[in-house]
Amino acid sequence: MIKLKQIRKNFGDLNVLKGIDLEVSKGEVVAIIGPSGSGKSTLLRCINFLEQPCGGEVHFENELIHDKTNMNQYREHMGMVFQQFNLFPHKTVLENIMMAPVLLKKEAKENAYKTAMDLLEQVGLLDKKDVYPNKLSGGQKQRVAIARALAMHPKVMLFDEPTSALDPEMVGEVLEVMKKLTHKDVTMIVVTHEMGFAKEVADRVLFMDDGLVVEENTPEYLFSQPQHPRTIDFLSKVL
Protein backbone atom coordinates (compact mmCIF):
# COMPACT_ATOMS: atom_id res chain seq x y z
CA MET A 1 0.00 0.00 0.00
CA ILE A 2 2.81 2.35 0.91
CA LYS A 3 6.25 1.87 -0.50
CA LEU A 4 9.18 4.12 0.34
CA LYS A 5 12.35 3.86 -1.69
CA GLN A 6 15.63 5.36 -0.51
CA ILE A 7 14.00 8.32 1.22
CA ARG A 8 16.54 10.96 2.12
CA LYS A 9 16.09 14.20 3.98
CA ASN A 10 18.52 16.78 5.21
CA PHE A 11 18.02 20.01 7.09
CA GLY A 12 20.96 22.11 5.96
CA ASP A 13 24.07 20.07 6.65
CA LEU A 14 22.25 17.68 8.91
CA ASN A 15 21.41 14.36 7.28
CA VAL A 16 18.30 13.25 9.09
CA LEU A 17 17.29 10.41 6.77
CA LYS A 18 19.99 8.59 4.87
CA GLY A 19 18.02 6.37 2.54
CA ILE A 20 15.05 4.57 4.01
CA ASP A 21 13.17 1.73 2.38
CA LEU A 22 9.87 0.72 3.83
CA GLU A 23 6.89 -1.22 2.61
CA VAL A 24 3.63 -1.32 4.46
CA SER A 25 0.77 -3.49 3.30
CA LYS A 26 -2.92 -2.99 3.86
CA GLY A 27 -4.07 -3.58 7.41
CA GLU A 28 -0.55 -3.79 8.75
CA VAL A 29 0.49 -2.07 11.96
CA VAL A 30 4.08 -0.88 11.88
CA ALA A 31 5.77 0.62 14.90
CA ILE A 32 8.88 2.73 14.54
CA ILE A 33 11.09 2.99 17.60
CA GLY A 34 14.50 4.47 18.24
CA PRO A 35 16.34 7.18 20.14
CA SER A 36 15.46 10.86 19.86
CA GLY A 37 16.93 12.45 16.77
CA SER A 38 17.08 9.18 14.88
CA GLY A 39 14.71 10.52 12.20
CA LYS A 40 11.55 8.59 13.10
CA SER A 41 9.21 11.57 13.06
CA THR A 42 10.81 13.03 9.96
CA LEU A 43 10.29 9.74 8.16
CA LEU A 44 6.63 9.71 9.13
CA ARG A 45 6.24 13.32 7.99
CA CYS A 46 7.84 12.50 4.66
CA ILE A 47 5.09 9.98 3.99
CA ASN A 48 2.38 12.67 3.84
CA PHE A 49 4.81 15.32 2.62
CA LEU A 50 4.62 17.56 5.66
CA GLU A 51 8.33 17.33 5.02
CA GLN A 52 9.40 17.27 1.41
CA PRO A 53 11.88 14.40 0.99
CA CYS A 54 15.18 15.49 -0.56
CA GLY A 55 15.48 12.25 -2.45
CA GLY A 56 13.83 8.89 -2.99
CA GLU A 57 10.32 7.86 -3.91
CA VAL A 58 7.02 7.58 -2.13
CA HIS A 59 4.51 5.21 -3.67
CA PHE A 60 0.93 4.97 -2.53
CA GLU A 61 -1.31 2.23 -3.92
CA ASN A 62 1.17 1.66 -6.73
CA GLU A 63 1.25 5.31 -7.67
CA LEU A 64 4.34 7.46 -7.46
CA ILE A 65 3.66 10.59 -5.43
CA HIS A 66 5.48 13.63 -6.75
CA ASP A 67 5.26 17.40 -7.18
CA LYS A 68 2.46 17.19 -9.70
CA THR A 69 0.34 14.94 -7.52
CA ASN A 70 -2.71 16.61 -6.05
CA MET A 71 -1.21 16.71 -2.59
CA ASN A 72 -4.44 17.65 -0.81
CA GLN A 73 -6.29 14.74 -2.33
CA TYR A 74 -3.43 12.41 -1.44
CA ARG A 75 -3.36 13.65 2.14
CA GLU A 76 -7.07 12.99 2.53
CA HIS A 77 -6.17 9.30 2.50
CA MET A 78 -3.72 9.74 5.37
CA GLY A 79 -4.94 10.55 8.83
CA MET A 80 -2.29 12.05 11.04
CA VAL A 81 -2.15 12.29 14.80
CA PHE A 82 0.38 14.71 16.27
CA GLN A 83 2.31 14.70 19.48
CA GLN A 84 0.87 18.14 20.32
CA PHE A 85 -2.71 17.18 19.24
CA ASN A 86 -3.13 20.34 17.11
CA LEU A 87 -6.87 20.50 17.61
CA PHE A 88 -8.50 23.68 16.34
CA PRO A 89 -9.00 25.69 19.55
CA HIS A 90 -11.73 27.95 18.16
CA LYS A 91 -13.97 25.02 17.23
CA THR A 92 -15.88 22.66 19.49
CA VAL A 93 -15.01 18.99 19.60
CA LEU A 94 -17.81 18.17 17.18
CA GLU A 95 -16.83 20.99 14.81
CA ASN A 96 -13.23 19.83 14.89
CA ILE A 97 -14.27 16.39 13.71
CA MET A 98 -16.85 17.51 11.16
CA MET A 99 -14.85 20.30 9.54
CA ALA A 100 -12.73 18.36 7.07
CA PRO A 101 -15.44 15.93 5.85
CA VAL A 102 -17.93 18.74 5.24
CA LEU A 103 -15.34 21.02 3.66
CA LEU A 104 -13.40 18.52 1.58
CA LYS A 105 -15.69 15.61 0.88
CA LYS A 106 -18.76 17.80 0.56
CA GLU A 107 -20.42 15.42 2.93
CA ALA A 108 -23.90 16.43 4.01
CA LYS A 109 -23.91 17.89 7.50
CA GLU A 110 -26.21 15.15 8.80
CA ASN A 111 -23.90 12.42 7.55
CA ALA A 112 -20.81 14.09 8.93
CA TYR A 113 -22.63 14.55 12.22
CA LYS A 114 -23.54 10.89 12.36
CA THR A 115 -19.98 9.83 11.60
CA ALA A 116 -18.63 12.25 14.18
CA MET A 117 -21.00 10.96 16.85
CA ASP A 118 -20.04 7.36 16.04
CA LEU A 119 -16.38 8.23 16.33
CA LEU A 120 -16.89 10.11 19.57
CA GLU A 121 -18.61 7.06 20.97
CA GLN A 122 -15.68 4.89 19.88
CA VAL A 123 -13.20 7.13 21.66
CA GLY A 124 -15.52 7.46 24.64
CA LEU A 125 -16.10 11.21 24.52
CA LEU A 126 -19.73 11.59 23.50
CA ASP A 127 -20.41 13.81 26.49
CA LYS A 128 -17.72 16.27 25.38
CA LYS A 129 -19.08 16.94 21.92
CA ASP A 130 -19.95 20.61 22.50
CA VAL A 131 -16.88 21.45 24.56
CA TYR A 132 -13.93 23.51 23.32
CA PRO A 133 -10.56 21.72 23.25
CA ASN A 134 -9.06 23.87 25.99
CA LYS A 135 -11.47 22.32 28.46
CA LEU A 136 -10.17 18.82 27.76
CA SER A 137 -7.33 16.89 29.35
CA GLY A 138 -4.38 15.87 27.20
CA GLY A 139 -5.64 12.32 26.83
CA GLN A 140 -9.09 13.54 25.82
CA LYS A 141 -7.59 15.96 23.31
CA GLN A 142 -5.60 13.19 21.70
CA ARG A 143 -8.65 10.95 21.49
CA VAL A 144 -10.54 13.77 19.75
CA ALA A 145 -7.58 14.24 17.41
CA ILE A 146 -7.75 10.56 16.51
CA ALA A 147 -11.48 10.87 15.86
CA ARG A 148 -10.84 13.95 13.70
CA ALA A 149 -8.35 12.05 11.56
CA LEU A 150 -10.63 9.01 11.29
CA ALA A 151 -13.58 11.14 10.15
CA MET A 152 -11.96 11.42 6.72
CA HIS A 153 -12.03 7.61 6.42
CA PRO A 154 -8.29 7.51 5.77
CA LYS A 155 -6.65 4.45 4.31
CA VAL A 156 -3.62 4.89 6.53
CA MET A 157 -3.20 6.40 9.97
CA LEU A 158 0.10 8.04 10.85
CA PHE A 159 0.81 8.49 14.56
CA ASP A 160 3.65 10.82 15.51
CA GLU A 161 4.51 10.01 19.13
CA PRO A 162 0.86 10.28 20.12
CA THR A 163 1.46 9.74 23.82
CA SER A 164 4.72 11.61 24.36
CA ALA A 165 3.08 14.85 25.48
CA LEU A 166 0.69 13.16 27.89
CA ASP A 167 0.74 12.79 31.63
CA PRO A 168 1.53 9.16 32.46
CA GLU A 169 -1.96 8.37 33.73
CA MET A 170 -3.47 9.43 30.41
CA VAL A 171 -1.28 7.34 28.16
CA GLY A 172 -3.42 4.26 28.73
CA GLU A 173 -6.68 5.72 27.47
CA VAL A 174 -5.08 6.82 24.18
CA LEU A 175 -3.31 3.51 23.63
CA GLU A 176 -6.60 1.76 24.33
CA VAL A 177 -8.28 3.69 21.50
CA MET A 178 -5.39 2.91 19.18
CA LYS A 179 -5.54 -0.74 20.09
CA LYS A 180 -9.21 -0.83 19.14
CA LEU A 181 -8.26 0.55 15.73
CA THR A 182 -5.89 -2.31 15.06
CA HIS A 183 -8.82 -4.69 15.42
CA LYS A 184 -10.60 -2.78 12.67
CA ASP A 185 -7.99 -3.47 10.08
CA VAL A 186 -6.78 0.11 9.88
CA THR A 187 -3.32 0.41 8.38
CA MET A 188 -1.18 2.16 10.94
CA ILE A 189 2.33 3.54 11.14
CA VAL A 190 3.16 4.51 14.69
CA VAL A 191 6.24 6.38 15.86
CA THR A 192 6.34 5.66 19.55
CA HIS A 193 8.32 5.38 22.75
CA GLU A 194 5.75 3.00 24.20
CA MET A 195 7.60 -0.30 23.90
CA GLY A 196 4.77 -2.17 25.58
CA PHE A 197 2.36 -0.93 22.96
CA ALA A 198 4.71 -1.75 20.09
CA LYS A 199 5.24 -5.20 21.47
CA GLU A 200 1.57 -5.90 21.93
CA VAL A 201 -0.09 -4.53 18.81
CA ALA A 202 2.49 -4.05 16.07
CA ASP A 203 2.84 -6.60 13.29
CA ARG A 204 6.32 -5.31 12.65
CA VAL A 205 8.74 -3.12 14.53
CA LEU A 206 11.43 -0.95 12.94
CA PHE A 207 14.36 0.25 14.96
CA MET A 208 15.85 3.46 13.60
CA ASP A 209 19.11 5.08 14.54
CA ASP A 210 21.01 7.92 12.95
CA GLY A 211 18.78 8.22 9.88
CA LEU A 212 18.73 4.55 9.00
CA VAL A 213 16.54 1.55 9.70
CA VAL A 214 19.01 -0.52 11.66
CA GLU A 215 16.83 -3.52 12.27
CA GLU A 216 13.29 -4.66 11.67
CA ASN A 217 11.41 -7.71 12.74
CA THR A 218 8.26 -8.95 14.35
CA PRO A 219 7.96 -7.60 17.88
CA GLU A 220 8.50 -11.04 19.43
CA TYR A 221 11.92 -11.36 17.84
CA LEU A 222 13.01 -7.73 17.89
CA PHE A 223 12.37 -7.33 21.58
CA SER A 224 13.59 -10.74 22.75
CA GLN A 225 16.44 -11.39 20.33
CA PRO A 226 17.72 -8.12 18.92
CA GLN A 227 20.60 -8.70 16.51
CA HIS A 228 22.26 -5.36 15.97
CA PRO A 229 24.46 -3.98 18.77
CA ARG A 230 22.72 -0.60 18.64
CA THR A 231 19.32 -2.20 18.98
CA ILE A 232 20.58 -4.23 21.91
CA ASP A 233 22.02 -1.12 23.50
CA PHE A 234 18.81 0.92 22.98
CA LEU A 235 16.50 -1.79 24.25
CA SER A 236 18.65 -2.43 27.30
CA LYS A 237 18.14 1.22 28.23
CA VAL A 238 14.40 1.50 27.67
CA LEU A 239 13.04 -1.87 28.69
Binding site: N48, L50, N72, Q73, Y74, R75, E76, M78, G79, M80, F82, Q84, F85, N86, L87, F88, P89, H90, K91, M99, A100, L103, L104, Y132, P133, N134, R148, A149, M152, L158
Partner: protein, 212 residues
Amino acid sequence: MEFGFLLKYYKFFITGTANTLLLSLLTVVFGLLGGMILSLLKVSNFKPAEKLASAYIAFIRGTPLLVQLYIIYYGLKDIPMFAAGVVAMSVNSSAYIAEIIRAGIAAVDKGQFEATKSLGMSPIQAYRQVILPQAFKKILPALGNEFVILIKESAIVSVIGLHDLMYNVDTIRGITYKPFEPLIAAAIIYFILTATLSKGVTLIERRLQVSD
Protein backbone atom coordinates in the same frame (compact mmCIF):
# COMPACT_ATOMS: atom_id res chain seq x y z
CA MET B 1 -16.79 79.44 29.29
CA GLU B 2 -20.06 79.77 27.54
CA PHE B 3 -21.70 77.06 25.46
CA GLY B 4 -24.76 78.95 24.22
CA PHE B 5 -23.50 78.56 20.63
CA LEU B 6 -24.40 74.90 20.78
CA LEU B 7 -28.09 75.70 20.61
CA LYS B 8 -27.62 77.67 17.43
CA TYR B 9 -24.98 75.61 15.67
CA TYR B 10 -25.61 72.05 16.89
CA LYS B 11 -26.39 71.00 13.32
CA PHE B 12 -22.77 71.64 12.35
CA PHE B 13 -21.72 69.19 15.02
CA ILE B 14 -24.21 66.59 13.86
CA THR B 15 -23.26 66.68 10.19
CA GLY B 16 -19.57 66.91 11.09
CA THR B 17 -19.80 63.91 13.37
CA ALA B 18 -21.78 62.01 10.74
CA ASN B 19 -19.10 62.68 8.14
CA THR B 20 -16.30 61.72 10.52
CA LEU B 21 -18.14 58.50 11.35
CA LEU B 22 -18.82 57.63 7.73
CA LEU B 23 -15.22 58.37 6.77
CA SER B 24 -13.91 56.23 9.63
CA LEU B 25 -16.29 53.39 8.91
CA LEU B 26 -15.36 53.23 5.23
CA THR B 27 -11.70 53.43 6.19
CA VAL B 28 -12.12 50.52 8.60
CA VAL B 29 -13.73 48.43 5.85
CA PHE B 30 -11.23 49.25 3.11
CA GLY B 31 -8.28 49.37 5.51
CA LEU B 32 -9.13 45.89 6.78
CA LEU B 33 -9.61 44.56 3.28
CA GLY B 34 -6.37 46.12 2.06
CA GLY B 35 -4.51 45.08 5.18
CA MET B 36 -5.70 41.50 4.81
CA ILE B 37 -4.59 41.31 1.19
CA LEU B 38 -1.23 42.91 1.98
CA SER B 39 -0.58 40.60 4.92
CA LEU B 40 -1.47 37.51 2.88
CA LEU B 41 0.87 38.68 0.11
CA LYS B 42 3.54 39.13 2.74
CA VAL B 43 3.20 35.61 4.12
CA SER B 44 2.83 34.09 0.65
CA ASN B 45 5.75 32.19 -0.75
CA PHE B 46 5.65 34.22 -3.96
CA LYS B 47 8.73 36.43 -3.66
CA PRO B 48 7.75 39.35 -5.97
CA ALA B 49 4.39 39.76 -4.20
CA GLU B 50 6.10 39.55 -0.85
CA LYS B 51 8.65 42.22 -1.81
CA LEU B 52 6.00 44.50 -3.29
CA ALA B 53 3.82 44.31 -0.19
CA SER B 54 6.80 44.93 2.08
CA ALA B 55 7.87 47.97 0.07
CA TYR B 56 4.35 49.38 0.09
CA ILE B 57 4.03 48.93 3.83
CA ALA B 58 7.44 50.46 4.52
CA PHE B 59 6.74 53.48 2.30
CA ILE B 60 3.29 54.19 3.70
CA ARG B 61 4.41 53.81 7.28
CA GLY B 62 7.43 55.98 6.61
CA THR B 63 5.61 59.01 5.22
CA PRO B 64 3.16 61.40 6.92
CA LEU B 65 -0.55 60.87 6.44
CA LEU B 66 -0.86 64.56 5.64
CA VAL B 67 1.52 64.24 2.71
CA GLN B 68 -0.31 61.13 1.48
CA LEU B 69 -3.61 62.98 1.69
CA TYR B 70 -2.28 65.92 -0.32
CA ILE B 71 -0.70 63.64 -2.91
CA ILE B 72 -3.96 61.81 -3.46
CA TYR B 73 -6.18 64.90 -3.41
CA TYR B 74 -4.03 67.11 -5.62
CA GLY B 75 -2.48 64.30 -7.63
CA LEU B 76 -5.75 62.76 -8.74
CA LYS B 77 -7.26 66.01 -9.92
CA ASP B 78 -10.85 64.92 -10.44
CA ILE B 79 -11.22 62.90 -7.29
CA PRO B 80 -14.13 64.05 -5.12
CA MET B 81 -13.05 65.40 -1.76
CA PHE B 82 -14.76 62.73 0.30
CA ALA B 83 -13.33 59.94 -1.84
CA ALA B 84 -9.86 61.44 -1.47
CA GLY B 85 -10.29 61.34 2.29
CA VAL B 86 -11.41 57.71 2.27
CA VAL B 87 -8.67 56.63 -0.13
CA ALA B 88 -5.88 58.39 1.76
CA MET B 89 -7.04 57.10 5.13
CA SER B 90 -7.52 53.56 3.78
CA VAL B 91 -4.16 53.48 2.05
CA ASN B 92 -2.55 54.63 5.26
CA SER B 93 -4.34 52.36 7.70
CA SER B 94 -4.08 49.29 5.44
CA ALA B 95 -0.30 49.35 5.89
CA TYR B 96 -0.60 49.38 9.68
CA ILE B 97 -3.38 46.81 9.70
CA ALA B 98 -1.33 44.55 7.39
CA GLU B 99 1.47 44.46 9.95
CA ILE B 100 -0.99 43.72 12.75
CA ILE B 101 -2.56 40.84 10.82
CA ARG B 102 0.81 39.46 9.79
CA ALA B 103 1.87 39.39 13.42
CA GLY B 104 -1.39 37.62 14.27
CA ILE B 105 -0.83 34.97 11.61
CA ALA B 106 2.73 34.46 12.84
CA ALA B 107 1.41 33.97 16.36
CA VAL B 108 -0.81 31.03 15.34
CA ASP B 109 0.86 27.76 16.28
CA LYS B 110 2.69 26.05 13.43
CA GLY B 111 0.93 22.82 14.34
CA GLN B 112 -2.35 24.35 13.20
CA PHE B 113 -1.06 24.66 9.64
CA GLU B 114 0.21 21.11 9.80
CA ALA B 115 -3.12 19.81 11.03
CA THR B 116 -4.97 21.46 8.15
CA LYS B 117 -2.45 20.09 5.68
CA SER B 118 -2.65 16.60 7.08
CA LEU B 119 -6.42 16.66 6.65
CA GLY B 120 -6.02 17.65 3.00
CA MET B 121 -7.20 21.25 3.29
CA SER B 122 -5.97 23.78 0.74
CA PRO B 123 -4.11 26.89 1.95
CA ILE B 124 -7.18 29.03 1.25
CA GLN B 125 -9.41 26.72 3.28
CA ALA B 126 -6.82 26.62 6.03
CA TYR B 127 -6.58 30.39 6.26
CA ARG B 128 -10.33 30.90 6.11
CA GLN B 129 -11.37 28.20 8.55
CA VAL B 130 -8.47 27.86 10.93
CA ILE B 131 -5.66 30.40 10.73
CA LEU B 132 -7.40 33.76 10.29
CA PRO B 133 -10.11 33.19 12.91
CA GLN B 134 -7.40 32.43 15.47
CA ALA B 135 -5.20 35.29 14.26
CA PHE B 136 -8.08 37.76 14.54
CA LYS B 137 -8.77 36.73 18.06
CA LYS B 138 -5.17 37.37 18.99
CA ILE B 139 -4.98 40.77 17.30
CA LEU B 140 -8.38 42.13 18.28
CA PRO B 141 -6.96 44.49 20.94
CA ALA B 142 -4.34 45.84 18.53
CA LEU B 143 -6.93 46.17 15.79
CA GLY B 144 -9.31 48.06 18.10
CA ASN B 145 -6.45 50.34 19.01
CA GLU B 146 -5.75 50.99 15.32
CA PHE B 147 -9.39 51.91 14.75
CA VAL B 148 -9.32 54.36 17.64
CA ILE B 149 -6.21 55.99 16.18
CA LEU B 150 -7.92 56.12 12.82
CA ILE B 151 -10.95 58.02 14.17
CA LYS B 152 -8.66 60.54 15.82
CA GLU B 153 -6.40 60.99 12.82
CA SER B 154 -9.36 61.44 10.51
CA ALA B 155 -9.44 65.03 11.75
CA ILE B 156 -6.62 65.70 9.33
CA VAL B 157 -8.97 65.56 6.33
CA SER B 158 -10.30 68.95 7.39
CA VAL B 159 -7.25 70.50 5.73
CA ILE B 160 -8.55 69.65 2.26
CA GLY B 161 -11.92 71.10 3.18
CA LEU B 162 -13.84 67.92 3.88
CA HIS B 163 -16.67 68.84 6.24
CA ASP B 164 -15.81 66.47 9.01
CA LEU B 165 -16.22 67.25 12.69
CA MET B 166 -12.95 69.16 12.91
CA TYR B 167 -13.71 71.30 9.87
CA ASN B 168 -17.16 72.22 11.13
CA VAL B 169 -15.79 73.08 14.53
CA ASP B 170 -13.35 75.46 12.88
CA THR B 171 -16.24 76.99 10.99
CA ILE B 172 -18.13 77.58 14.22
CA ARG B 173 -15.04 79.10 15.80
CA GLY B 174 -14.91 81.53 12.91
CA ILE B 175 -18.56 82.46 13.00
CA THR B 176 -18.84 82.88 16.76
CA TYR B 177 -15.41 84.35 17.48
CA LYS B 178 -15.11 81.75 20.18
CA PRO B 179 -11.68 80.17 19.69
CA PHE B 180 -11.88 77.78 22.61
CA GLU B 181 -15.27 76.37 23.55
CA PRO B 182 -16.12 74.63 20.24
CA LEU B 183 -12.87 72.70 20.59
CA ILE B 184 -13.95 71.40 23.98
CA ALA B 185 -17.21 70.22 22.44
CA ALA B 186 -15.26 68.54 19.60
CA ALA B 187 -12.92 66.82 22.05
CA ILE B 188 -15.87 65.45 23.99
CA ILE B 189 -17.52 64.13 20.82
CA TYR B 190 -14.28 62.48 19.62
CA PHE B 191 -13.88 60.94 23.05
CA ILE B 192 -17.42 59.55 23.03
CA LEU B 193 -16.74 57.96 19.62
CA THR B 194 -13.44 56.35 20.61
CA ALA B 195 -14.63 55.27 24.05
CA THR B 196 -17.70 53.60 22.53
CA LEU B 197 -15.50 51.79 20.03
CA SER B 198 -13.09 50.61 22.74
CA LYS B 199 -16.00 49.33 24.78
CA GLY B 200 -17.38 47.50 21.76
CA VAL B 201 -14.03 45.82 21.09
CA THR B 202 -13.82 44.73 24.72
CA LEU B 203 -17.28 43.17 24.44
CA ILE B 204 -16.32 41.25 21.29
CA GLU B 205 -13.13 40.08 22.98
CA ARG B 206 -15.11 38.76 25.90
CA ARG B 207 -17.48 36.92 23.60
CA LEU B 208 -14.58 35.29 21.78
CA GLN B 209 -13.16 34.07 25.05
CA VAL B 210 -15.63 31.17 25.21
CA SER B 211 -13.01 28.88 23.66
CA ASP B 212 -10.27 29.88 26.13
